[in-house]
């Protein structure tokens, strides 16, 4: 394939899934959900730059 980005990730295989009892979800979806939870927590806990300091 002439498109170079296609070689970065090999997608020519069945999707990886996470199984736990009744729970079944593609690994990529699990990664995105975990990432959203992390960003949500950071957004609440991280100081906002403009008001950092003694202001």
């Amino acid at each position: 394939m002439s498109f170079p980005a296609a070689a970065v990730f090999n997608l020519n295989h069945p999707a990886h899934t996470v199984h736990w009892h009744f729970f079944s979800m593609s690994a990529s979806n699990v990664v995105v959900i975990v990432l959203m939870l992390v960003v949500f927590a950071v957004a609440i806990l991280a100081p906002f730059p403009r008001y950092r300091g003694t202001e």
Binding site: M36, V39, F40, A43, I44, Y51
Partner: protein
């Protein structure tokens, strides 16, 4: 009453300006409690939506034979896809933040409802895009989704294997609905103001005791009596 005041244009103008005077529609300051990262995800969702509309307009001008074959077409196809991914990523975090701060408080029920309905309408907007790709991925998704549509009884009206119908939904009907709902949502936010956070006193975590000294005023706290945030930061 003058003839001008009886005209519907004058009445509509007065009602619009009364509901949203210019200083509310285009404010130059915001309440101090907005100095938190959790408040940026609404505008990040909006920026993603602008990118979606812009890249989608280019894709619709050129068509599938362009976005599947040419390098520039691949580029705009990817911009469109990743803008959608970021749109839902930011929108979900925006939803979580507003849910946990009960953003429907202070007469903001319509703000909450327009946002929630916009989210619900955006989901089929994305689905119709995935089934309009004109590739094997679209065929797989549409043949899987048709069972879901038939199971809930809408398959006869919303046929996900019909490219023409799905493409029309994707490039006109559903985007128009999403944009209209988002516009209403933003205008309602402007009208009612950004929802203030809960105060500790409201949660009963700061019981008043006679022995306690008078606490220093918190510059970041806006009292509930001022839900639209008159105490604004420059």
């Amino acid at each position: 009453m003058s003839a001008q005041r009886r005209s519907w244009t004058a009445r509509a103008r007065e009602r619009a300006v009364g509901a949203l005077p210019p200083e509310k529609l285009l404010p130059d300051s915001q309440p101090v409690y907005m100095a938190s990262w959790i408040y940026v995800f609404g505008v990040l969702s909006l920026a993603s939506l602008v990118m979606i509309i812009a890249s989608g307009s280019i894709l619709s001008l050129k068509g599938p034979a362009w976005w599947h074959v040419t390098g520039v077409g691949h580029f705009f196809n990817s911009i469109h896809l990743w803008s959608v991914e970021l749109f839902f990523f930011f929108l979900v975090i925006h939803l979580w933040g507003k849910y946990w701060m009960a953003a429907w408080r202070g007469g903001r029920a319509r703000v909450w409802m327009t946002g929630a309905v916009a989210f619900v309408v955006a989901v089929p907007c994305a689905l119709t895009g995935y089934v309009s790709q004109q590739n094997f991925d679209a065929q797989w998704i549409s043949t899987q989704a048709k069972d879901g549509m038939n199971a809930v009884g809408v398959g006869a009206f919303f046929n996900v294997t019909n490219f023409g119908q799905m493409y029309s939904y994707h490039v006109l009907l559903l985007p128009a609905a999403v944009v209209a709902l988002v516009a209403a949502h933003i205008l309602l936010v402007r009208k009612h103001g950004i929802v203030p956070p809960f105060t500790l006193a409201d949660r009963g975590e700061l019981p008043a005791r006679a022995a306690d000294p008078e606490p220093a005023p918190d510059p970041g706290r806006v009292p509930e009596a001022d839900p639209v945030g008159a105490g604004r930061a420059p």
